[in-house]
Amino acid sequence: MHFLDAFAQQVARQPEAPALWAHGQWYTYAELAARAGDIQAQLQALPVLPPRIGVLTGDDMSTYAALLAILGLGCAYVPVNAHHPAERNAAILEDAELTLLLATRPEAARQAIPPAHYRAVLPLTAGTSRASAFVHKPAAPEQLAYILFTSGSTGRPKGVPISHGNLQTFLAAVADPAVYALEPRDRFLQMFDLTFDLSVYSWLLPLTLGASTCVLPEDGISYLHIAELLEECQLTVALMVPSVLAYLQPYLEELELPHLRLSLFCGEALPHATTLAWSRCIPHARIENVYGPTEATIFCLRYVWQAERSAAESVNGIVPIGRPLPGTYAYVADAAGQPLPAGTPGELCLLGAQVSTGYWHNPQKTAAAFFATQWAGVQQQAYRTGDEAYVNIQGDFIYTGRIDNQVKIDGYRVELGEIEHHARTFTGLAQVAAVAAPVANGNMTLHLFLENYTADTGPLKAHLAAQLPPYMQPRQIHKLDKLPLNVNGKIDRKALAQRIA
């Protein structure tokens, strides 16, 4: 059943069941659907309904109702974060050709995006229910559900369009009772910014199952608030980035989480040691490491963690990423794209119905990363992930690193080239290097190195703050007489990383 039909069916079947928790309040399926119906009525009153609609990210019920409203009308949503720089947001609006932005806080939208870049902001005001029914039009598989923008090495974010077909394949795979045995009584943690595709698992999946989602308030400065939410809302399912564990590590003994039964990690390499410490807080729960890039819809490989077995199967202390979900195929390829035998490392390639058609309005980048191929007797869409991996003797994929300069900061994808591009443009320098290095708790931080730069770094910092989202800001800028080079004459990033340590 299509995910929108599944949501509508839950609204009809159990209108009074809790659907969403936000800002300390529970909302029922009926309330969420009524709010979405109201927003749809507002949208349908417009002279033209745009095919893609921007949504200013937020942690309130109306923002989630807006996502449902947009999907239900057959449009695609494009999330825009008010805390990201206005110029970056403007580039996203321009690329996605957005004319309309939905926002709970219209004043924040007007601050976050220069008005020249859109025609209208539609305020999502609460409590004006005209009791319009939630509309869900039948959607063709190729119709777009959302476009998310990720870091691009050339200084401009890349749009990843995900279709109803992509999303439906993912949701059907994870909703399969044989995979996770999810139930209507499950309560999901939603800790992700809506610009991050793991959010879709956390908010949309539960609403198709008659379960509920609990939204982490945005005003919490630290990930420690996740622990509070897990306890107080008695959450049963939590998809998190491994960075969260590093923050929670000193407090694990204080946690009481008898309700948590499924704990998934995604977005970064998962260390076995921190997982082991975490497992002692939730001895009754199943822990999994899941893997997948935005280009292949949320996640598409999974590995069930188990203390003794995973200790043996982890490589360099990192837990395997496992095997594909139904509908996805994975293999490791050499530089020429030829499949490699088990045990040989190469580039991880993904195929199947979860793989996007390619980058939005970017044929060059699409051609470099996406291709169509015959697999299992049918034509399949395929994606080169840029991740290096190999298959072990058990048949699980082992992630060993990136083949390019992409890093993960708290689970967010960061192209070091994007930071370098903005630093180069501003300083006029040729030799700049952005480097990620771990801090005491194991999480990564960003540093920027400049060769022979005599000016004060204050204006550069301000420039980067105006161009890049907070998670991409270098924590420190280092001025060196000369950047070290490796034997190939390239900037020696390892040497720079060691300098930080």
């Binding site: 400065i221 630290s222 420690l224 608030h225 622990a227 923050y247 929670l248 801090v439 999480n443």
Partner: protein, 79 residues
């Protein structure tokens, strides 16, 4: 906030948030300090614990709404 607590907090905040101009006050929150994010927040907590020789519980940290709350908690723990 007791002046001796404020003095020590100023030292920690100026070093962790890399800003010699910071002067803490009761209502101060992360919104006011540019480099106060989730990562530097944890570093600040650890430095405060070290400086005062105290240990915060998870619930105490998540319930702190501003610097005043933290100062009051430190005072309570030192008493």
């Amino acid at each position: 906030m007791k002046p001796e607590i404020a003095d020590k907090l100023n030292t920690v905040f100026r070093s962790v948030f890399r800003n010699p101009g910071i002067t803490v006050h009761e209502d101060m929150t992360a919104a006011e300090v540019e480099s106060w994010d989730s990562l530097s927040h944890m570093t600040m907590i650890q430095e405060v614990e070290k400086t005062f020789g105290v240990k915060f519980k998870l619930k105490e940290i998540t319930r702190m709404k501003n610097v005043g709350d933290m100062a009051a908690l430190i005072e309570e723990k030192l008493a």
